[in-house]
Subunit: 224 residues, 2 copies
């Protein structure tokens, strides 16, 4: 059976991505990263999502927190709250984490090569996104080329494909596709700065984008 | 002062690379990686090399050992010994570590961005090397493009340059340049499977390449 590594953050995009990979017939290994993020509750959500969406395994990998320091998401300054749509669309925000998706994808690539996976799925999205450079198609395509130059499977084998099925979708489309595939969004977490019990703040960019997405999808968010 | 991140493994190539970066006037942060390698003595060597060659800081970063599993260097099978030059030149050996340089460079990139470095130096070498795909210029150039698409410094700033000054040098040239710059090769370690006290085995590919390099440079290796 064809196998894929799926980056699962615990959020709704990656939950839908995992469901899509499963729907395409991939046997999936879900991979999450503990990088000292403020919103660590997402790691518990990731484990639940991985199981609920039928991953054969969930790996939570540790990343040296010092590497990804320097972001509001890793304890450097405050998470911006109550920003307008216009503000969210403006440039790269303080929640940008240096080289995050490159580090995540590189580690996922190592896991892919050692486990014989032929694809890596990432729930990157360039529409309702937060201005992160590493969520753009041009980055993901470049990473795919680099990945196949860096590895034995790329040079001597069949190569590894980088898949980002949500890249051009709106948040509403992602939510609708996830619901079609039976994803339980009640297991997910999107908030950048949730309470200790996981309750979303409702005010950060990510909460804002999620709320607007459910509204546009005419669906009800099972989270408070 | 311009600043660089230098990948320092504790071997002689990266020691020479650090000396070159210093000689070019860079303030250097040395970065090493603990990825469960069999030859962990190299991390102590890296710290000594970083200090002796004038790095302002040495960071030993932890990488989840499960990621880079599947190599003779990370406890999966034996390190091949007593191979001939022809055998060493043949394909990708068992000591290949999946996606290693891509993972290392990605983490170094995150450190570069958070510390304001404008360059990353890596002692990759495509001549007297061991057939690793991630030591080739074509990979490093591709990584450089990807890095500048992945990051804020690449998209909104002056970008980060990936430098591999040793890429086309023979091992003898590397040794001579290192000696010219005053590198103490007695602090370095090249062996893939050293004794507990760090004594090189003298039989793995890396020991073999080092011995041949010193012989060709007409220099004496300070190591036993």
């Amino acid at each position: 059976m064809k196998r894929a590594i799926v980056l699962v953050s615990g959020g709704l995009d990656s939950a839908t991505t995992l469901a899509i990979a499963r729907d395409e017939g991939f046997e999936c290994i879900a991979v999450s990263f503990d990088y000292g993020q403020r919103h660590r509750v997402e790691l518990q959500c990731a484990a639940k999502v991985a199981q609920a969406c039928g991953a054969i395994e969930h790996r939570a990998m540790q990343i040296d927190a010092a590497a990804l320091h320097g972001s509001a998401l890793t304890g450097c300054g405050d998470v911006p709250l109550d920003r307008s749509d216009a503000q969210i669309g403006e440039g790269i925000p303080d929640t940008y984490v240096p080289a995050r998706n490159l580090v995540f994808l590189s580690l996922a690539l190592a896991v892919a090569e050692t486990t014989g996976a032929s694809a890596i799925f990432i729930g990157a999205n360039a529409v309702d996104y937060s201005g992160y450079p590493d969520c753009r198609g041009v980055f993901l395509e470049s990473f795919g080329r680099t990945a196949n130059l860096a590895t034995k499977v790329g040079v001597e084998g069949d190569g590894i494909e980088i898949r980002s099925p949500l890249l051009e979708w709106t948040k509403a489309q992602i939510i609708r596709r996830g619901l079609d595939l039976g994803v339980d969004f009640g297991l997910t977490s999107s908030c950048y700065d949730p309470g200790d019990d996981g309750t979303p703040c409702g005010r950060c960019d990510s909460c804002h984008i999620r709320q607007a997405g459910f509204a546009a999808a005419e669906a009800e968010d099972p989270l408070p």
